[in-house]
């Protein structure tokens, strides 16, 4: 999958190098997106976890700006697709056209052939077009006319979308939602950040001043470093417990997939690495549970009627689930079984 160029330095970075590189990227992005360091950090973590990012929010809060800032900070190939209702799958994947000179079909790569693909307003395209992303997002390859084309590494799709209540949107298919590692919301900036934005953006677009602070090779090494982060057995069990809990929750019709378990742990590793740790904490998993799991779940009609969002359901699960203990907590009556379970029939 990864095809490093010869002569490129490989191997994991030291902790200091990793931090320096990661800080540089984050500082760079924060020049454009102000007061959203947690969101920026999460976006970077998704990149380092080799995942894809879905930014969902109301129009005008800087979704696209975040995606573009991330793309600009890394010196790699960036393509942008504006999803429109009439966009076709071939626009995304590429198409074989007949070359008059060679008298043969020639593959014209689509927009996904890049390190970073920014899919704007992804839910405005029809499900048919969106489906074209399924293969490339998971398998990092594109198959057109029987020929499979590998994508470059790193490969990351950063999609933005409006909430589905907005006009002219289609809901993303479950399969595609599951392929996005994390869904984040931008949220409105606080007044100070907004003021800074006004003074900063007044005369020019700071996005234009942005320079790349990393290249694809560095990102690959960053990814490699993040992968090496240690996740103890207890932490892995906790990840499984969290995901299992979403499958068993009575308010959820469709729980999280095994793929989500993997991505949860991977993202947690990236977050841990960004915080300068070489081990994952349950805290990381708790912080990531909502962005990583919530958008994959389908609530039951009852829960929907009660206006229960999957976000609240997942955060309740996080607050309910006991964390893994190396030693058994003597006061924890909850592990094993609920205290009320034993009280007869």
């Amino acid at each position: 999958m990864t095809t490093p160029t010869w002569g490129e330095p490989t191997g994991p970075l030291t902790s200091a190098e990793f931090r320096a590189a990661a800080q540089a990227i984050m500082a760079n992005i924060e020049q454009v997106i102000e007061g959203k360091s947690a969101t920026v950090r999460l976006a970077l973590a998704v990149l380092l976890a080799e995942g894809h990012l879905l930014i969902e929010d109301v129009p005008g809060v800087g979704k696209t700006k975040l995606a573009k800032a991330l793309a600009r900070s890394i010196d790699c190939s960036v393509r942008r697709i504006q999803f429109t209702p009439d966009l076709l799958p071939s626009d995304v994947t590429g198409v074989s056209v007949y070359n008059q000179e060679t008298r043969d079909f020639e593959f014209k790569p689509g927009a996904v052939f890049a390190n970073l693909v920014v899919g704007d307003e992804i839910n405005r395209a029809s499900p048919k077009t969106q489906s074209a992303l399924l293969e490339c997002m998971e398998e990092r390859q594109v198959t057109v006319d029987g020929t499979t084309y590998e994508l470059q590494a790193p490969f990351m799709v950063v999609a933005t979308q409006n909430p589905i209540e907005m006009e002219g949107t289609y809901p993303l298919p479950e399969a595609q939602r599951d392929r996005f590692t994390a869904r984040i919301a931008m949220g409105y900036p606080d007044p100070r950040a907004e003021l800074a934005m006004l003074s900063g953006h007044g005369d020019h677009d700071p996005l234009n001043d942005l320079h790349a602070v990393a290249d694809a090779a560095l990102v690959r090494r960053l990814i490699e470093t993040a992968r090496a982060v240690h996740a103890a057995d207890a932490v892995q069990q906790y990840a499984i417990a969290l995901v299992t809990a979403t499958r068993e929750a009575p308010e959820i019709r469709l729980g999280a997939s095994p793929r989500s378990t993997l991505q949860l742990l991977r993202t947690a590793k990236a977050v841990a690495a960004l915080e300068g740790r070489d081990y994952v904490l349950p805290d990381d998993l708790q912080a990531l549970a909502v962005p990583v799991l919530a958008h994959r779940l389908i609530p039951t009609p009852d829960a929907q009627l009660n206006r229960r969002t999957t976000d609240t359901i997942v955060s309740e699960i996080v607050h309910r689930l006991p964390i893994p203990h190396a030693t058994r907590n003597p006061y924890d009556t909850r592990d094993g079984r609920a205290p009320y379970e034993s009280r007869g029939r």
Binding site: A232, L281, A326, N329, G344
Partner: protein
């Protein structure tokens, strides 16, 4: 009607039922009417105040007012008009005093005496108020069982014998009714009743779901009633009542005993008992010992003979007088003997049986004191139960001729002044004057009175008469001439006093049945009372006027021969029981007229009873120490646990510290890693326990990091403990989730700092609690206990299920 008011009425009814035991105390049913009126008044006051929605204290006040008004109605002083006045209160005081006297002078069942009725009504009224408050105001009806039990304890305390079961059953029914009413009320307030079959049922209709509860209740009452009947004599000794504040009827009603013992009542109780119980075993070197004595009644008032609490020094050097060196007993000669006394657990009293004139007492456990005037050995705390002790005593020897030399006491002699006090009674005075007419010496006067109690003058023995040494009864006895030892002894003492000679009534045991050579077995049948007369130069000389045929193990002396055997100075055996005597006389005992005697007061220093004090002290100390130790067990367990963990964490600092971080990681021995990990876990567990001790919530869904942050935030820790908490959190976090745990950090001191910080910010109460009753330990035990209980229940459930499924037929088909 609201549930609260209904509960109040049920409480009143239950109080009435619980007052049933009074029926065993009073002769007639007057008390019931008065109690009924009082309880109804109190209940009415309660309902009224509740209807008017008075606050709780006003309800209580209203009930108290109702009680006072009712008492005023029933026991008026004659000066008031429905409302109590100071005169009324003074009258109440008189009534209480009168009740105190009545308790001493009347045996149960008592007649309708105003004082006793007043006490009874007052007591039941107070109980009614307490029960009402507990039930309707505080909603703790279970506690109202205590005052109800207090009522029942009155007959238990008074009757030396067993107490009838019926009053208890009635009272228990009232109590259960109260509990049921309260429970029904609770269920009703909860909402609609669920009966299991989906029907909407009335509140008072029994629920099938409660069947198990009803069965349990019935079984409980049955067990409570039947168990005491099955278990053989739990209390054992009937004299045991002697040691319990025995001033009679009023004791249960809060009158309280003043340490006085009604010797007459206890004696009659003992003799009236149906069974024979072994009380003592005595081995003495004396050939024909006189009676063992333990008590004296030396106060004769209008109410009759009464005893006063003995006063004397504890048994140690100098407390036992030697009569040989005492001037008051100079006229007699003494012979020293030695006796071993072994008391069974049936005799449980605070007065120890002794032979007269002890000069040495040994091996008696507990703190005992000797009253040289009464010649009584007593204790305020210990009893004679299961005691085994030895006595060295002097037996005075005198003949009638010697006694005749005793001069008359001066009129101003303190002894004569103290022990010749008699109430005015013409009949007795006339009798005495007639009997002692023309008799010169004191001894002859006493003999004349003594002889007058013979069959010749129409006296006969019968236990059928009840006696409390009462004044009017003594007079009645002198007229009826039928009675038993108490009346004989009291009547003779009175008459001797009337003749101007000091006299008193002594209580004790007759000689008993001889077992082998020198050992006597003494039972409750041997309980006895006789007269002691003070003769100058000889001290207190015993005279037993009771016909020896009526008393098992009676003894006679030269100076007081058996009057029914007439004339003969040395008494002949009495074999034929007198008509009407109910006690079976042990024939062998009557044969020996005894020269035994009671001397006067005397003094010798004998070092006896040294270790007993230490033993009691040790015992009390041991009990208190055990209690304290038991209370301290949780704290101790906590300290031990902490120490254990500290020793674990203290070792952390010792292993060689890895130099540059990460460089040595590969070389670390895994044993050390595991060790460091364990240490961090121990430190964290200790921190969690400390948090529980200081009642800070422990959330199992929190990570160590979050817990540490919350702890700092919630308890407002200062910088140092906060840093320590963070260190502990990080150490635990790394121990759990990182490849390499933290090493070389001082977790013990960090723990200490956190503990100090928590204790600093906690309240005093929380601090004391954390040290003395650490919740971490208690909670841990409670959880373990409930878990064990759950497991047992589950096991029992499985067993029951298996048993239900068990089908013997299946076994048959299988074998076929």
């Amino acid at each position: 009607m609201t549930g609260r008011r209904r509960l109040g009425l049920v409480a009143a009814a239950a109080t009435l039922l619980a007052s049933a035991p009074l029926a065993t105390i009073f002769d007639s049913w007057t008390w019931l009417l008065q109690v009924l009126l009082t309880v109804v008044m109190i209940a009415g006051a309660a309902v009224l105040t509740r209807t008017l929605r008075f606050p709780s204290w006003a309800q209580a006040l209203g009930m108290v007012a109702a009680l006072v008004v009712t008492l005023t109605w029933i026991f008026p002083s004659g000066h008031e008009l429905l409302v109590p006045t100071p005169a009324t209160l003074a009258h109440f005081g008189e009534l209480i005093q009168q009740a105190g006297n009545d308790t001493r002078s009347y045996a149960v069942p008592v007649p309708d005496r105003d004082g006793l009725l007043f006490i009874a009504v007052l007591g039941i009224g107070v109980v009614a108020i307490v029960v009402d408050l507990l039930t309707a105001v505080f909603r703790r009806p279970a506690l109202s069982g205590l005052p109800m039990l207090a009522i029942y304890s009155i007959p238990v305390a008074i009757y030396l014998d067993s107490v009838p079961v019926t009053p208890f059953v009635v009272g228990a029914c009232g109590y259960l009714w109260l509990l049921v009413a309260d429970n029904v009320d609770r269920v009703r307030r909860f909402g609609r009743r669920f009966t299991g079959d989906g029907r909407d049922v009335d509140v008072w209709e029994p629920s099938p779901l409660a069947a198990a509860g009803r069965r349990l209740g019935v079984a409980g009452v049955l067990v409570a009633v039947l168990l005491p009947l099955v278990v053989p004599t739990v209390t054992g000794g009937l004299l045991s009542q002697l040691t319990q504040s025995g001033s009679g009827v009023g004791s249960g009603l809060g009158k309280g005993g003043n340490g006085k013992i009604n010797l007459f009542a206890s004696l009659s109780g003992q003799l009236a008992q149906n069974t024979t119980v072994n009380l003592l075993k005595v081995t003495t070197t004396e050939k024909d010992p006189f009676y063992l004595r333990f008590g004296v009644a030396d106060q004769l008032t209008a109410e009759g003979f009464g005893n006063q609490p003995p006063a004397g020094n504890t048994l140690d050097a100098g407390s036992l007088p030697d009569p040989r060196r005492e001037s008051s007993t100079a006229g007699s000669t003494f012979q020293q003997y030695h006796a071993e006394i072994e008391v069974t657990d049936a005799l449980r009293q605070s007065l120890a049986p002794l032979y007269a004139n002890p000069v040495g007492i040994r091996d008696l456990t507990g703190n005992w004191a000797y009253d040289p005037n009464q010649q009584v050995l007593y204790s305020n705390r210990t009893t004679t139960s299961k005691q085994k002790y030895s006595v060295d005593y002097l037996r005075p020897q005198y003949t009638p001729a010697e006694l005749r030399t005793a001069p008359e006491l001066d009129r101003d002699d303190p002894i004569r002044r103290a022990f010749t006090v008699v109430p005015d009674n013409d009949y007795v005075d006339r009798q005495v004057a007639r009997i002692t007419q023309g008799v010169a010496t004191d001894y002859d006067k006493v003999r004349a009175i003594y002889d007058s109690f013979s069959r010749k003058y129409g006296f006969s023995y019968s236990q059928q008469t009840q006696s409390t040494g009462n004044f009017s009864e003594i007079e009645a006895f002198l007229k009826n001439k039928v009675g038993y030892c108490q009346q004989y002894a009291a009547a003779m003492a009175w008459m001797v006093r009337a003749a101007g000679i000091p006299a008193r009534v002594a209580f004790g045991f007759t000689r008993g049945t001889m077992e082998d050579g020198s050992t006597y077995v003494i039972t409750n049948r041997n309980a006895h009372a006789w007269t002691e007369v003070y003769l100058k130069g000889f001290g207190w000389v015993p005279f037993d006027a009771t016909p020896s045929a009526g008393v098992a193990g009676a003894a006679r002396s030269d100076w007081a021969p058996d009057v029914d055997r007439t004339a003969e100075p040395s008494a002949a055996p009495t074999t034929a029981p007198l008509p009407g005597s109910s006690a079976s006389a042990a024939a062998g005992q009557n044969q020996r007229p005894d020269r035994a005697n009671d001397g006067g007061a005397a003094a010798t220093t004998v070092g006896a009873g040294t270790d007993q004090d230490n033993w009691t002290g040790l015992l009390i100390f041991g009990v208190i120490a055990t209690l304290i130790a038991l209370l301290l067990v949780p704290a101790l367990r906590r300290v031990l646990l902490r120490r254990q963990r500290h020793t674990a964490t203290a070792g952390v600092a010792e292993p060689s510290e890895p130099g540059p971080a990460g460089a040595v990681t590969g070389l670390m021995v895994t044993g050390e890693t595991a060790r460091a990990r364990e240490d961090a876990h121990a430190a964290w567990d200790e921190l969690i326990d400390t948090m529980v001790d200081y009642q800070i919530t422990v959330d199992p869904t929190e990570t160590p990091r979050l817990t540490a942050q919350r702890l700092i935030r919630e308890t407002v820790l200062s910088a140092e403990p906060a840093a320590a908490v963070e260190l502990l959190g990080t150490a635990e976090e790394r121990a759990r989730y990182a490849r390499e745990p933290m090493r070389g950090v001082e977790l013990t001191s960090a723990l200490r700092q956190v503990r100090g910080g928590l204790s600093h910010s906690a309240t005093v109460r929380a601090r004391v609690r954390a040290v003395l009753f650490p919740p971490s330990i208690l909670l841990g035990w409670r959880l373990a206990l409930s878990e064990a209980g759950t497991r047992t229940m589950e096991a029992a459930g499985r067993l029951r299920e298996n048993l239900a499924r068990f089908n013997p037929r299946r076994l048959l088909t299988r074998t076929r």
